[in-house]
Amino acid sequence: MTVTSDRSAPTDAPLGAPAAKRFGGLLKTRELGIVLALALLVAYTAIDNPRFLSGQSIRDNLLNTAILAVMATGQAVVVITRNIDLSVGSVLGISAFAVATLMSNQDLPMVVGLLAGLAIGAVAGLVNGVLVRYGKVPALVVTLGTLYIYRGITYSWAGGSQVNADELPRHFLTFANDSILGIPWLVLIALVVVAAGSVMMRNYRVGRELYAMGSSPAAAELAGIKVARNLLGAFVLSGALAGLAGVLYAARFGTVDAAAGTGLELNVVAAVVVGGVAVFGGSGSVWGAALGALLLTVIGSALAVLDINQFWQQAIVGALIILAICADRLVAVRIARSLRKRDAHV
């Protein structure tokens, strides 16, 4: 897990919402907790079976994380604005099927597939954003609706047909496994997406505005933040990244039917919540969400290697989500208390 330890360097830690900014140290423990859990898990599994740390195994885990991490990045941005995007699994499905169909008919370069996936996802995200902002419908309801709409469109388009590996061009399939400088393309794309997302949210004006919107939507609006534009942007980003993930999914699995990515939205939300992004918006970080994705994926592989009963796996993921939310609450209480203390000193 070399990548993990590289990215867990303390200087890399993000700062939360403006209110929590001074107490970044506290928030840092959130991501630190994931890193520790990850390290413990990997160490325990590796002692049980040293092959868990073999090159092939690390590569597999990173490849499996890549798709989830890309989606978690978009979801984290949306959740930070106190919204949620439940349609990402369906967007992945429609994008995966569309791109696989497009690529199977003619010999197009990979970049066309990637752009097509991004474009399909962006349009889907724009619809979500417009409905949330101008329809004044809560994001939970809108994206639950579009979850079904996008899946319904895929079903009626695809019917029972599927695109199989032998119909896809070779370069498309090998894209999932080819490496550059020893890093698979899929992982590289995920790293770039996560890094760009983190930097945008931490260092750029628009990122800070998104945090402000999540902390207090009303105050953000009064402060003159372009709430509408930012909100649309967040949903378009989430959609586009889900679309991109669809292309990566098609390349990785080689077999795509109308049901691709069904139920994936819950994994993505789980990764984001476990990664320390508060469900009520305003705090958390993109790279934390990516760590959450890595943790969930590694748990999946570790349980397979450790020979733990299948039935336990979902229960363990569920327990982690509850633990993460409890930790959130704890941090919030501690911040509130220390704020009160500080006031008392003044």
């Binding site: 499996n64 409905l131 079904y148 695809a158 029972g160 590996a165 032998d166 049901a259 039935f311």
Partner: protein
Amino acid sequence: MLRSPRTLLSVTSAALLVAGLAACGGTTKDSNTNAGSGTQASAAADPNAAIKEGLKIAFLPKQLNNPYSDVETGGGKVAVEELKGEYKLVGPNDASASSQVSYINTLIQQQQDVIVVAANDPNAVCPSLNQARAAKIKVITFDSDASKDCRDAFINQATTEGIGQSLAKMALEQAGGEGEIAVLSATPNATNQNSWIEVMKEELKKPEYAKLKLVKVAYGNDDDQKSFQEAQGLLQSYPNLKAIVAPTTVGIAAAARYISSSSYKGKVAVTGLGLPNQMREYVKDDTVKKFALWNPADIGYLAAFAGAAMASGQITGAPGEKFKAGKLGEYTIGADGEIVLGPPTEFTKENIDQFNF
């Protein structure tokens, strides 16, 4: 009237949501609405009775939009055309236990002659199927059986024993006669897969399999990513693994895709039950040497012929009765009204291009 663009938008968005949700409901294909008067056969079987023309045969698979179900019902459609009957396909979009009930009730009202159904749950559909039979509709199950007392005959794709033995035989061949093998199954409570694995385990106790050791049964939940991870887990936990046997189409495709792109390619064999279209790529790149499956189109084909024979009075569903099923030849009804399709077809590099499903 709509006063502001904002109201307009929220109204359109609500309408869009409703339309979208409606589109996700069950779909009906090739529906025919004219309710005819199907004359029913008498109770005694008359082997020489002619097959009636214009029989209304309805297919109700586990779910629509499932590639495998589509091939099955596609075979049924061909058979119904050969029989000069009226073909109808209805079904839910999800394979949940109760989702088929309303479709059965509608088919009863439409006075179909035969309902060919793959039961999502052996008991949940029973009351409705018995109502259908009370209305003199013949009920044939395929793919997945309903309880014995609520259907007239069951088209079994292959016997549990046949599949279990075939899996064990392929495992022995692919592992090169000895070594460790592992099973990558669907969900831990999948009835079909579990009974096949049981037979396979029994088979492995025989002397000719003495050198073969089944080290683990893993479950990929018929999910691509999960099956990927389980295949990875198997290869890490058992470095000397010779073969992975996956008795599920999702599992075998995921295991093959994983091995074809990993450093284990050529060292670990993959075999089991798979769809030729999904597996073609991996058979051609030598990851998979041999796998098997019954021909799903033949299941639907046989079911349609069995239904037509029954509706025409040729058979009643009693053991020992014989009927002709077009290109498939003659079939005999076995115990409990079961009609076995035959041994699974084995697919290799040489013959895979002859199949398209």
